[in-house]
């Protein structure tokens, strides 16, 4: 065992292979970018194939290769299940899959793991059924959890080498010019898929909306695409927005949002030209609502909003409160429409969004980020990947990226959820180190990271209750009682990479 800087124990063989977390910017070094093999297309060649089966044959996919998918369709994705079902039928085994994330809709993956079709996984997240199955130990090799920026880094640096990327394309022409704003199942930005297209040896565009050549705007260009396959449906548009983006009526969430907005607007960052990112949860959306009102009242305008774009941000831009939207992913349909119609709503790839090894990601220019949490501990470490029962059920997302890079990172969470304390002695799993987290906002008040003395001074007059993180934890435990320690097995089921590729934690089987 090797203990990393956060005193998390990393099994020796993984510590040797990946290195261990040693501080937010300890492993930011020069490197040679990854390259790919290109099979050139000659003037009379056609890229259009009749089926996914034919595409798998043409790419020469075989045992042991790495394939990737994007998660822009979220809970509405049909592509990963369709492709893996066909691969399984063809008898190909021992594949590594590198989807940008995994949703509940991907539960059929469990059988592909059990049948030996899929033997390695890297992903941002693992949801209910797949997460529970992997936590129970169905895989011999641990899943590698990477943040959105960390995945872009891993692809650009060659840690992940994608042999074939199977990319769901809301619209494509026969020559592989792809965008996410036209077609039957529009998802808006294709920010995560763009990285795969750029670095994969072979790219198969799977579309249900074949357009006349040339299909514009071009998010993924024909020069990155080998084959185009037309299918009946690539995704369910309703599933793309599932789970996101209703304005909450929950008084606890509203109070948290009100406190968060007060912190933002009282900060020195809140001035003309400031920038912000919010997530898609109920409280995060409510923050935008409160923030919007103060921006109107005090005549303050933002230069850009980053994300993870939601309709709340789109509306603020329409009102002239936000100059530009910088968009790696859309959480709802209105955002996808805005990306198509609005020149100041700009699509970027995950490398530009958040990679720690790019020549400067947009998050480095970000002032304020609103982030969620399953748990926060008294060292301000955040868990967004495992439940307090130790089971994998969340997603790393852009949490560790954004919080490390922005000027004011705020984690918003209720003190308790049901009987589960959110503020705890030690998080079940660390995804984001406490040094990246500046302010924790709860319905009982805020806790400022004492490492940010400047913020302690800045918020002295703030009309929001202020507590220490230990006091918040005590209040949580007073309601719920002190939870018993979870008993784990000896098998490592997931490695939690920090954004730089070192291991910040591991997850054992339960």
């Amino acid at each position: 065992m090797v203990e990393n800087k956060l005193k998390r124990e990393i099994p020796a063989k993984y510590a040797e292979q990946y290195g261990v977390y040693d501080g937010e910017f300890a492993h930011i070094d020069s490197y040679q970018a990854a390259t790919k093999t290109i099979k050139p297309i000659k003037p009379n060649d056609s890229k259009l194939l009749g089926s996914i089966h034919e595409a798998i044959v043409k790419t020469g996919l075989k045992d042991g290769m790495t394939i990737s998918f994007h998660h822009h369709f979220r809970e509405g994705d049909f592509v990963m299940n369709m492709v893996l079902d066909e691969i399984a039928k063809m008898g190909i085994k021992n594949l590594s899959i590198a989807p940008s994330s995994i949703a509940n809709v991907h539960a059929p993956l469990i059988d592909h793991i059990k049948n030996g079709v899929v033997t390695n996984i890297t992903s941002s997240g693992l949801r209910d059924k797949v997460g529970a199955a992997i936590s129970s130990g169905i895989m011999a090799n641990p899943v590698v959890i990477r943040s959105h920026g960390g995945r872009a880094r891993a692809i650009a640096s060659g840690d992940i080498h994608i042999d074939v990327a199977f990319l769901g394309a809301p619209s494509s022409d026969e020559y592989g010019n792809i965008n996410g704003t036209k077609g039957k199942a529009t998802c808006g930005s294709l920010g995560y898929a763009m990285v795969d297209a750029k670095y994969a040896d072979q790219v198969v565009a799977i579309t249900d909306s074949l357009m006349p050549y040339p299909n514009t705007p071009i998010s993924i260009p024909q020069t990155d695409v080998d084959y185009v396959v037309q299918v009946d449906a690539i995704g369910d548009p309703d599933g793309i927005a599932k789970g996101a983006t209703r304005f909450t009526k929950n008084p606890k969430e509203l109070l948290i949002a009100e406190y968060a907005a007060k912190v933002i607007t009282a900060s020195s960052y809140f001035k003309n030209g400031f920038s912000f990112q919010t997530g898609s949860g109920g409280a995060a959306l409510a923050v935008s609502r409160f923030l919007r009102q103060t921006m109107i009242d005090e005549d303050v305008k933002a230069s850009f909003a980053l994300g993870g774009i939601t309709n709340a941000m789109v509306e603020m831009q329409k009102e002239g409160l936000v100059d530009k939207l910088i968009d790696v992913q859309d959480f709802d349909h209105p955002s996808a429409i805005s990306l198509a119609e609005n020149a100041d709503h700009y699509e970027i790839d995950a490398n530009m969004y958040a990679s720690p090894l790019s020549k400067g990601a947009v998050i480095n220019q970000l002032d304020i980020a609103i982030l969620s949490a399953l748990e926060v501990d008294t060292d301000f470490n955040v868990n967004v990947i495992t439940g307090s029962d130790g089971v994998l059920r969340g997603a790393s997302g852009g949490h560790s990226d954004t919080s490390a890079a922005c000027k004011l990172s705020m984690v918003i969470a209720p003190v308790v959820r049901g009987r589960i304390p959110t503020i705890v002695d030690a998080v079940t799993t660390v995804v984001t180190p406490g040094s990246s987290v500046d302010v924790v906002v709860t319905e009982l008040g805020i806790a400022i990271n004492p490492a940010r003395q400047d913020l302690v001074d800045m918020f002295k007059g703030l009309k929001v209750p202020q507590l220490t993180i230990d006091e918040l934890k005590d209040k949580a435990y007073a309601i719920t009682g002190v939870p018993e320690k979870i008993e784990y097995g000896d098998q490592t089921v997931a490695l939690i990479e920090y954004r730089d590729g070192s291991l910040i934690d591991v997850v054992k089987n339960v």
């Binding site: 307090s388 029962d389 130790g390 049901g418 009987r419 589960i420 309601i479 719920t480 009682g481 939870p483 018993e484 979870i486 008993e487 339960v510």
Partner: protein, 101 residues
């Protein structure tokens, strides 16, 4: 006391607990299904046992489906189940109140 009755109180809503009491020849047995069993299972079982014993029920089979109820809810549901089992409505508020510290 011995009784042949079965009673059920509570709901399956989140933050509630549904408790069913059934006759048992000897001792208190508790079958707990809880979404926080790993973190709080032993505590919840001990709490229900304590409440039942205080109300003079020492031979009973308990089936509980917990959806993350807090201690106050678990106590209240257990007391209600015990009183209903015994057919009592003369709640001894003073005694019950004295348990809350």
């Amino acid at each position: 006391m011995q009784t042949a009755k079965t009673v059920t109180v509570g709901t399956m809503e989140s933050s509630d607990i549904m408790i069913t009491l059934k006759p048992n020849a000897s001792g208190i047995t508790i079958d707990l299904d809880s979404n926080v069993k790993k973190q709080f299972g032993a505590h919840i079982t001990a709490l229900m046992t304590e409440v039942l014993q205080k109300l003079g029920i020492n031979d009973i089979a308990v089936e509980a489906v917990d959806k993350g109820a807090l201690d106050c809810t678990i106590k209240a549901r257990t007391i209600a189940a015990a009183y209903r089992l015994q057919g009592k409505t003369d709640y001894d508020w003073e005694a019950l109140n004295s348990w809350n510290v």
